[in-house]
């Protein structure tokens, strides 16, 4: 299983801060595209991604036991 953590705006849009998904073998980009379609999560393809607390790009392939964190960019200041 893959654990996906949602931060900030994504938490509010989803109404929860994490989910468990059976997406081992997918790339990060595939996961994001699927989340965008499935949950109508606006802008999820533009989030920053960490796998097991390390930054990764969209081509990273998920392995069972990974924890993915999706962090929307914050622009204000």
């Amino acid at each position: 299983m893959i654990k996906v953590l949602f931060f900030a705006r994504l938490q509010e849009e989803l109404g929860k801060d994490n989910m468990e998904l059976d997406t081992a073998g997918w790339t990060i980009d595939e996961l994001k595209n699927w989340l965008e379609t499935e949950y109508k999560l606006d802008g999820v393809t533009q989030t920053m991604t960490a796998v097991n607390e390390e930054f990764t790009d969209g081509s990273h392939i998920l392995a069972s036991g990974d924890t993915v964190a999706l962090i929307p960019p914050v622009s204000g200041g």
Binding site: F7, G43, M48, A50, D57, G76, G77
Partner: protein, 348 residues
């Protein structure tokens, strides 16, 4: 005379030596909004040698809940933030040299102001300018400390050229939608917390405690008590056009164009002419005063017009407060400034 920095020197990673270093350093604070003013105040109190502070905006009443250098008086008088910031900062510490610029920063004018700067602090509210800062940071090998905050969230990262990934490595293109105070509101403590992390990193760099710099990106939610760091070991992109082997600094070569911005958190639209121009202020004042009281100071002329407030800057920019949409602002602008025949380009 009592040593005003005695208790900071007693903090052993700084010490007397670090304090002396700090007093020789020059930082650029880009933006004098919420993060910019919080960082500026902490660093000026800490005894930094010189600060260049740049902001294009004026103080508004809706800034006051989070922008700590400003008071009601400056909101009433529509003082430009850079000027109001300098005035307050010099009362706090007259030993710090403060160069304040009321300026709509772009690659060209920033490039002139950035020489001899030891560090750049991000006090901006949008990614367009951050991508320019990032390219300048790489070109001139000057570190910059990214900070952003909205709602009860904040994030920060310390970009060190030659050592860490750059902003362009982390985002292949400018993020189209970022959380801002327009989308999520903002609370003061989220700003202060983001700025505290930024200033701490700045103090480390400026006192030559480089080994103490945080190497991860930090992200928090102060209301919900979350905090997370993200390691950057895999962050660097060798093909990056800003910091890679075949770099072109793409954000330094943008065409100048008139454009329309929606400013953060103020229902305000900014219109910037494509080339620097000076308006005929006496003509504008005469024309506007039939609509409402016209006020001006050495930087800006303001006037009420219907439900809007117009602020016309001497550098040619016009802010239209109360306008929520770009089209709305554009038509107001054209009523008064039509003769300029601006070719308005809308940036999305």
């Amino acid at each position: 005379m009592e040593n005003r920095y005695a208790k900071q020197e007693l903090f052993s990673p700084i010490g007397r030596e670090g304090q002396n270093l700090l007093q020789t350093k020059h930082i650029l604070i880009m933006g004098a909004g919420a993060l910019g003013s919080a960082n500026a105040e902490m660093l000026v109190r800490a005894g930094i040698g010189k600060v260049t502070i740049i902001d294009r905006d004026i103080v508004e009443s809706s800034n006051l809940h989070r922008q700590q250098l400003y008071t009601e008086k400056e909101a009433e008088e529509h003082t430009p933030k850079a000027i109001a910031a300098k005035e307050r900062l010099q009362r706090i510490n007259q030993d710090t040299i403060i160069d304040a610029f009321v300026l709509d920063a772009d690659a060209a004018n920033l490039e002139k102001l950035i020489r001899n700067v030891n560090l750049i602090i991000d006090g901006t509210d949008n990614f367009d300018i951050r991508f320019i800062l990032n390219d300048l940071s790489q070109k001139y090998q000057i570190p910059w400390i990214f900070g952003a905050s909205a709602g009860s969230f904040g994030m920060t990262y310390t970009f060190i050229p030659g050592k860490t990934p750059c902003l362009h490595c982390l985002f292949p293109s400018i993020p189209g939608i970022g959380m801002s105070c327009d989308t999520s509101g903002i609370i003061g403590p989220a700003i202060q917390m983001t700025a505290s992390y930024q200033t701490t990193e700045a103090m480390k760099w400026l006192t030559e405690n480089e080994e103490a710099l945080r190497t991860s990106l930090l992200f928090f939610d102060i209301w919900h008590g979350q905090q997370q760091t993200i390691g950057m070991n895999k962050g660097k992109n060798k093909e990056c056009l800003s910091c890679g082997n075949h770099r072109t600094y793409p954000y330094l070569n943008q065409q100048e164009a008139a454009y329309i911005d929606v400013l953060c958190g103020q229902d305000t639209v900014q219109i910037r002419p494509s080339s620097k121009k000076k308006y005929d202020f006496s003509y504008i004042a005469k024309h506007l005063q039939s609509h409402g009281h016209v006020r001006s100071n050495s930087y800006v002329l303001t006037c009420l017009y219907r439900d809007y407030r117009l602020a016309v800057f001497y550098d040619g920019r016009v802010l239209i407060h109360g306008a929520k949409k770009k089209d709305e602002a554009k038509s107001i602008y054209n009523e008064f400034f039509a003769e300029t025949n601006l070719n308005l380009v809308t940036k999305e």
